[in-house]
Amino acid sequence: MIPPLTPNSQAILLLTGPLIAGRNAAAVELLTPGEYNRFAKVLKELQRQPSDLLGQDVSGILEDCRKIVEPTRVKQLLDRGLLLSQAVDNWHARSIWVISRADPSYPKRLKSRLKEESPAILYGCGDLELLERGGLAVVGSRHVDDSLLEYTEGIGRLAANAGMTLVSGGARGIDQASMRGASLAGGSVVGVLSDSLQRAALARDNREGLLDGRLAMISPYDPAAGFNVGHAMQRNKLIYALADAALVVTSDFKKGGTWTGAVEQLDKLKFCPIFVRTGSEAGKGNEALIRRGASPWPEPKSSAMLKAAIENSASSLVREAWQEDLPLVMEAPLKNSYAPEQAPVEATSASTIANDENGERSDESAKLLLATVRSLLMTGLAKPATVDEVAAMLEVSKPQVKVWLGKLVESGDIEKLGRPLRYRAKRQ
């Protein structure tokens, strides 16, 4: 039930994880998400994996990464091996597992939707497989009255009866009401927590669901970490990414986590269609979200109606999305992410993403992207250039450049020159 801890996960945890085991360890500064991004990128260029940092030639690797992070600092982080095993033992004793993006068991929805934004480390409890099932996300405020809680429990029940997984954030108010409704009706529930996973894993109310494989809880933050507004905001993306559709029960107007998360989806990320509860009591925030493009919640009364509503909205969204979705790799990363912009081990090249679950869409994107690269290089490589120079020209990693150059050589657009190895656009 607990997936094993892989060497890559060990290394990523050592570099970025606070490894909270009682009193916090002496102050060695963890790599920030941004630093780790850059570090991972260099590692990849060196054709190394994070796990190589645990091997004998670590000093050489750290020297090569000196321009990103001071080697002594990385060394100090890597020296926390015993602390790591202690922390992991604490988690395992509480049935909490930890995986990294480098693991095959990492949730595919997160990887394909969040891409380089997906959290490098994921802590969790319960059956990982639940995270692959999509479902209905329900979000809303922490402070709501009893009638709205009752309404939200009803939504949870409806999802359970329709056999849909319910995804929410585990916070007080709307989150917990929706999860409770689904759980009591025997449905599957995924909780994406922003704090205190360790406590939730031992809460008696969660025990049955965890044991029966109907509840999974995940968090990108250390299981012992307490509440933090920034974490709560960041976590919203994961909720949307795991769902097929989302319902905003209630949102403040232009403030609060629910608002920010929903607007980010509507304006930018578009992971799934978003419904908003309407009606006289729905409030200013909900109305504003509908004006920004969310759909009014059709208040389905049966499982069939719920499924139909979600299927309709999903098909319209996919069409919409893949027109706006480009480019994939060259887009600047979003701010404040917890995730490296480039996954360390799993290739982020277009060809790999094409294997993910939205295969068709990505494959199209990859073609469009390659076409763009081709037109750039047909002029850019009028004079021969090395892989390094092309990488610098396009501001992407060398392995990525090699993938593209390989394809363009194969299609006969570009030719290879020897000693030193250079590439040149063929005259048409």
Partner: protein, 691 residues
């Protein structure tokens, strides 16, 4: 890190205080392996080979090059003083944190935080300790560069003395990143143990293995069924045996008794057990310095004790396995050309070894009761709370909690002071392992009986049992020891056993939660407590134990020889002020048995007998209650002063037949004293308490 051979040899010579010392075969390779970080290493070498030099020198070399400190996990740190002294000579700053040096913890912790410690030595139990995990490890765990697991065979399920907390080490090692260096050491590992260790420490584990046979040992086995015969044999043999040695017993009680007997025969011996506490160092030093002839010890005197000129190791009872025996007897004759290793085999050893085997794991019923109790309380239960809810003894509750919490995934976990259920059920593999290990222990027990039956070829047998290289060994030229004891000595030993009584300490506190029907809780006021008392014998032992058992369950009458034995005991004990009258603990099941005995004892002591207490409620027998709190609650409200009785004011001798948790005697004493009696001296015929 680079290995510096000159510096390594220099350290060895400082450590051994021998300017011409050289490394033994394999020692230097092992140090080099660790320092150069060539992967995980297991060193299998017999005790005395110098495994500690490997890790101390490696630690020193790593530290001199700026590496982090080392962590050493060993089951018996108290016995590592010799090695630590050698380490200090080499300039290795070693600090120990264990349950016995609580006063030094704060100093140790501050030294750790200042990075002035080169190696921290802890017991495996420390790793499970909340304070240690929360306060000490996070700090130092951030720098440890080398983890040393001493007695690594304990990790293996197949190891002869599998220790529960080594499962914790196993869990930690499994998640330990490869960049932390890891060294395991053991003296004994057969093939199954090695396979297990490879599974835990990694298949790329390098193994450095030495020779098993100990040519200086003269091994002998002698069957002497009765305890008295063996006591007599020991008393006779010690007079002629040259040199100094160890006599091993299976239980703490036996160690005390054997030592008591030998002292009464004029031998200079001391008992050394887990209960010895602070005198351990002093006793070890007296053996090292040959100022005692022998220590009579349990396995508490074991791993790590190094006396090169130890001349004999005698077992008073057959140990449970060949591997355990090899380890213990292997302490003899390390630097002598010849030494004795003798196993005496007695009738009670099977019962004791059976008890060890059967109590190694909790029963399904115990596990069910504990889990059910925890399930009924979502916020968790402390151990005393569990004792009030589950009919399982204190020791068994702790054992159950410990083993369950060391499972992966663990069905329970300790949050602060309370145990709570986790989101994992107990896997069936737990029971499979328990069954497999129990079967293995039985096999080992059988193997040792085969060893006892040997006429010759003892060393060959042991080497084969340990999967060593087979070969023929020529034992040293020593005369065999006699195989019987003189009848006169045996009679004296019987008399000794019969006049040995045990102390009975009074309880000073009511159970957690008090006794609601009697409306008492907290401390028992001094004027309501019993005085220190006495127990005539141990249930079923070779002195009076058998007579008491027959009296209670076969004859329904305690014979006069027990009366005179108790009268002699009281006269020898001579409590002051002397008891002025005698009374008995009442029973509804055997209403006459104890009062009748007490009346005859009173007559023998020439003081009056008066029955003043009665059972006011019929309850199940105390022996069906599994723990002290349950027994206390079982007596709550069930005892009363008989109506219309006046309690005499003088000191009283309070008599009962059996004593286990002491709650009945505690309540009876409280009742007598609060109704006006003088001091209460409890006296019981037999103790059924497990020690």
């Amino acid at each position: 890190m680079p290995y510096n051979p000159t510096r390594a040899l220099e350290l060895l010579r400082i450590g051994t205080q021998n300017q011409t010392a050289f490394f033994r075969e394999g020692q230097e390779d092992a140090i080099r392996h660790v320092v150069e970080g060539k992967g995980r290493l297991l060193v299998v070498q017999k005790t005395g080979w110098g495994k500690s030099f490997v890790y101390f020198i490696a630690t020193k070399l790593l530290r001199e090059q700026g590496g982090g400190p080392a962590l050493l996990v060993s089951p018996l740190l108290a016995l590592m003083r010799n090695q630590i002294a050698a380490a200090q000579r080499m300039g290795v700053r070693a600090v120990t944190i264990n349950s016995e040096n609580r006063d030094d913890w704060q100093d140790a912790e501050s030294m750790l935080s200042q990075d002035v410690v080169d190696i921290l030595l802890i017991s495996p139990e420390r790793l499970a300790n909340e304070h240690f995990r929360a306060q000490v490890l996070p700090q130092m765990g951030a720098r440890i560069s080398l983890v040393v697991i001493d007695e690594a065979h304990c990790i293996s399920d197949w190891g002869h003395d599998f220790r529960p907390h080594y499962r914790l080490i196993e869990r930690i090692v499994r998640t330990l990143p490869q960049n932390v260096k890891l060294l395991g050491t053991t003296a004994t590992a057969n093939r199954r143990v090695l396979d297990d260790l490879k599974a835990v420490l990694g298949s790329d584990l390098t193994i450095s293995r030495g020779e098993l046979a100990r040519p200086s040992l003269f091994l002998q086995t002698i069957r002497l069924p009765g305890q008295a015969e063996r006591l007599a044999w020991l008393a006779e043999t010690l007079t002629t045996l040259p040199g100094n040695g160890i006599i091993y017993t299976l239980t703490v009680r036996d160690a005390a008794q054997v030592a008591g007997w030998l002292k009464s025969r004029g031998h200079n011996v001391e008992a050394y057990t887990g209960d010895t506490g602070e005198r351990r160092v002093e006793l070890e030093n007296s053996l090292l310095g040959n100022s005692v002839k022998a220590l009579v010890a349990t396995t508490a005197l074991g791993m790590g004790f190094d006396k090169p000129d130890l001349a004999f190791v005698i077992h008073f009872q057959t140990p449970g396995s060949a591997v355990a025996y090899y380890q213990q007897v292997g302490r003899a004759g390390r630097a002598l050309s010849s030494a004795y290793g003798v196993v005496l085999s007695g009738i009670e050893e099977t019962r004791i070894n059976d008890y060890f085997i059967e109590s190694a794991f909790p029963s399904r019923k115990e596990v069910e009761e504990v889990l059910r109790a925890l399930h009924s309380e979502p916020s968790g239960l402390s151990v005393p709370q569990l004792m009030a809810r589950a009919n399982v003894s204190y020791g068994r509750i702790n054992k159950t909690l410990q083993l369950l919490s060391l499972e992966t995934p663990s069905p329970i976990v300790k949050q602060d002071t309370k145990w709570v259920l986790t989101a994992a059920n107990l896997a069936e593999t737990f029971w499979e392992r328990a069954e497999r290990l129990t079967a293995l222990r039985r096999e080992e027990q059988k193997q040792m009986q085969a060893y006892v039956a040997l006429e010759a070829g003892h060393m060959e047998f042991l080497v084969k049992a340990l999967d060593g290289e087979p070969g023929a060994y020529q034992p040293p030229d020593l005369p065999p020891l006699p195989t019987t004891a003189r009848p006169a000595s045996v009679r004296e030993a019987v008399a000794f056993l019969r006049r040995t009584s045990l102390p009975l300490e009074p309880r000073k506190q009511w159970p957690t939660g008090g006794l609601p029907q009697f409306a008492v809780k907290g401390y028992i006021a001094e004027e309501h407590r019993a005085e220190p008392g006495r127990v005539l014998c141990i249930w079923g032992d070779a002195g009076w134990g058998e007579t008491v058992r027959l009296g209670k369950y076969t004859q329904g009458y305690f014979p006069d020889e027990l009366v005179s034995a108790c009268a002699t005991l009281v006269q020898g004990w001579n409590p002051k002020p002397a008891p002025a009258w005698v009374t008995a603990v009442p029973s509804t099941r055997h209403p006459r048995l104890v009062p009748d005995f007490a009346r005859r004892l009173a007559a023998a002591l020439q003081i009056p007998f008066q029955q003043v207490l009665e059972k006011s409620d019929d309850r199940p027998e105390q022996k069906t209650m599994a723990n002290g709190i349950k027994q206390a609650l079982n007596i709550d409200g069930a005892l009363a002063v008989a109506p219309g009785t006046t309690i005499p004011p003088g000191p009283v001798l309070l008599v009962d037949d059996m004593v286990d948790s002491r709650w009945t005697l505690t309540v009876a004493a409280w009742m007598l004293r609060s109704h006006g009696s003088g001091l209460v001296y409890p006296l019981a015929l037999a103790s059924t308490a497990h020690t």
